[in-house]
Amino acid sequence: MNGPLERIPAYVREFERYVPSRPDAALMRQYGVSRLVRLNNNENALGPPPSAREAVAAFDPARAAVYPSGDAYDLRHALAARFGKSPEQFLVGNGSCEVIASVIRALCAPGDAIVTADRTFAVYEWVARFSGIASRLVPLKNLALDPAAMHAAVTEGVRVVFVCNPNNPTGSWWNRAVLESFLRALDGRAMVVLDEAYREFVDDPDFPDGMEIMESHDNVLVFRTFSKMYGLAGFRVGYLCGSLEATDIIRRTQIAYSVNVLGQVAATAALADDAGHIAATRRMVADAKAFLGRECDALGLEYVCGQGNFAMVRTPVSDTLLYRRFMRQGIMVRTMTGFRFPNWIRVSLAPEAAMQAFATALRSALDAK
């Protein structure tokens, strides 16, 4: 008899926890390699912008003894100034994963549901499941979110629709017309989260800006992060922006003080001078896309390279086998079976040396079959 553990809800008991990869040093020991090229998490290989680097370097270690701003006050004001909104419209979290959890906690009750795609960022589905909220997973159509099917899935009890735009891992995206049409048809029947974690990588003028869209649709929440373009993944800073009323409600379900002081300082500084960094990163990503495309064409491999700093490659052997062969060569990629893309890998787009190492490892791994 386990006493209280016997009364754990089934949706918690049956949930499979996420197992993160081991630290780099442990992985290098495990696979017997002396270097590890991380191409698995879509981090920005260029690191943070110079302004953020300087802020981190100038950080006084003595400040570690003092609690951070409990609601990321300075960062919210910097975001408000940047986007022309009220600081109260922003909620900063320990990465956007915390903000996803806050949204679901605030807006959903047992018996409610969320709608999202079947092959998209997994955390929406995970948080819903371990919170006892149903996930209605809508199949992708031609590797893109299907607006008609997602709209049809919003029936009684659906509280939140998660739209990853651009979609991770396919890089597909809804343009302004598609998004507007979807929101008009939905007519405010559910909150719509536009997860724009990769939006800073997109330079297509037809890409919708969630910060504008939400001005005409008060059921829209926009998620963004400092983990991707801004190269601050190690500090875990993400945020949402919504109407004053929606943000106030969601803020009630989020634990204060969850974002560390150094992360707040670095993110605030990153916003101050990011144009050069964004331009350099976009150039690096464009070069890497071109390189990867040439390599895949030469090897006869199917690939999907949409918006964002990542691409998917279809492999002639199991993705999990390829992962192990890559690791033996010090290259870390993301297997896609868990994203419901069996026998695909996702590769972060990085500077030439890293892409060259990836290409060499790919040829070697495929030759080994």
Binding site: S21, P316, L321, R324, R325, T335, P342, K369
Partner: protein, 436 residues
């Protein structure tokens, strides 16, 4: 018929309760519509296990009995505490031992319980706590052959099929098209296969053509908390692009399992229709001792392998190191004490025999000083029944199981392959090599 009926009771270790529990077992079997023979066997199983365990369970500690009726079987679980547990009478090789003058032979009740059930399992839950599970299967009519579809036409799509008639048809089609060793045993009685799906014991996906005709099937079920056994893909129509249907089925299965707790998929029954590149070889087993044919055992991960620690006997250290190196899986090998310290007199092996597939599968439940002799006796008994293939499964999460390597080697078993995550940790599959 109810979906599942479950009765749970705690009783003191007192034989007086055995008879009334047999009455409960009878009512449960009746309510589930079991035949008279299954009903009697279930009553006997429950009564005899209760009687025997009441005699060995620790005084003052209750026994927890769970009786569960599903479509396809009756299931009895007995949780109890015992400090001196001798269950040798459950071995398939057991014979009645003479009692003292005028008494019934020793262990006769245990012997009856073991024979009445179709199978049993023993879980050692730590310390003096044990759980015995015994099952009695519903009897189903044998397979009636069905004609395979002469043609089918695209587009093909997947269905999470639950209609009993169509599931029965699919199992019969697979049985007609593939050798017995590639088909789950339930395909020989296709109505059982439909019940297994309805009971949630087996999952499956069917492929249907443009007119809804059955074109293919793949099935799977858990073999541990971390691993799935799958069978197939089975493709029915000869004139179709078999590879397309097979790939549709495999992709569907992988997507269905993608965000589940399972780490790995394993198959002893992969068909020739497996899509190249989707699975990796674990090794080969002999299909038939006489013919000398080999059966490939395959696997694939569903996510990155985070590594494990496993117990290892020096006798198989080289085999394990080479296996893990070839599979590129990381395992910490923990040495077991040899020779093992054995406090129990009688060992207990679980045995599943399948004559139609010429297969006997053994797994150890209790260690004992008679283990070497018990293994030899099992081999003799199984050979005596005309079964040529004998496999032994060793779970490397338990040091005492890992330490059986020497006894297995002496009994003529050879380690053939590692099944990652197939038990609480990895399992080693040993195959008996017939003496020339």
């Amino acid at each position: 018929m109810p979906e599942e009926t479950r009765l749970v009771v705690e009783i003191p270790p007192d034989m007086a309760f055995a008879h009334c529990l047999a009455g409960v077992a009878k009512t449960l079997a009746e309510r589930l519509g079991m035949g008279p023979r299954e009903n009697l066997r279930f009553q006997l199983t429950v009564e005899e296990f209760c009687m025997y365990l009441a005699g060995v369970a620790r005084d003052g500690r209750p026994m927890r009995i769970e009786l569960t009726g599903k479509r396809h079987l009756l299931h009895a679980a007995f949780g109890f505490e015992a400090s001196e547990l001798a269950l040798g009478g459950l071995n398939i090789t057991a014979c009645p031992k003479p009692g003292q003058s005028g008494e019934s032979p020793k262990d006769i009740g245990l012997l009856l319980a073991g024979k009445a059930a179709d199978r049993f399992f023993l879980e050692h839950q730590g310390g003096d706590r044990f759980r015995i599970v015994a099952e009695v299967d519903r009897v189903y009519p044998a397979l009636s052959p069905v004609r395979p579809p002469e043609s089918s036409r695209p587009p093909y799509r997947l269905l999470a099929e639950h209609d009993p008639a169509r599931l029965t048809q699919a199992a019969a089609l697979a049985s007609g098209a593939y050798p017995a060793w590639q088909c789950p045993g339930s395909f020989r009685t296709p109505e059982k296969f439909a019940d297994l799906v309805a009971d949630g014991q087996v999952d499956c996906l069917a492929a249907v053509d443009a007119s809804g005709r059955m074109a293919g099937l793949v099935t799977w079920s858990p073999c541990s908390d971390r691993a799935i056994y799958f069978s197939g893909p089975f493709v029915f129509a000869a004139d179709t692009p078999r590879a397309d249907i097979a790939r549709l089925l495999l992709d569907g299965m992988l997507m269905a399992l993608a965000r589940t707790p399972y780490v790995i998929m394993l198959s002893f029954r992969g068909t020739d229709d497996l899509t190249p590149g989707y699975f990796e070889p674990l090794g080969n087993l002999r299909v038939s001792a006489e013919a000398g044919g080999e059966q490939a055992v395959v696997f694939r991960h569903l996510r990155e392998d985070a590594g494990l620690a496993v117990w290892c006997s020096p006798r198989i250290e080289t085999f394990l190191r080479q296996s893990y190196e070839r599979l590129e899986m990381f395992r910490d090998l923990l040495p077991v004490e040899e020779p093992p310290v054995r406090t129990r007199t009688e060992s207990l092996l679980g045995a599943t025999l399948d004559r139609q597939r010429d297969l006997a599968e053994l797994q150890p439940f209790l260690d004992g000083r008679d283990m070497a002799a018990n293994l030899a006796a099992h081999v003799d008994a199984i050979r005596g029944k005309g079964i040529g293939r004998i496999l032994f499964y060793m779970d490397l999460s338990r040091p005492w199981e890992a330490a059986l390597a020497e006894d297995l080697t002496h009994a003529g078993f050879v380690p053939k392959l590692v099944l990652p995550y197939a038990g609480q940790a990895d399992k080693v599959v040993w195959q008996h090599e017939r003496a020339s």
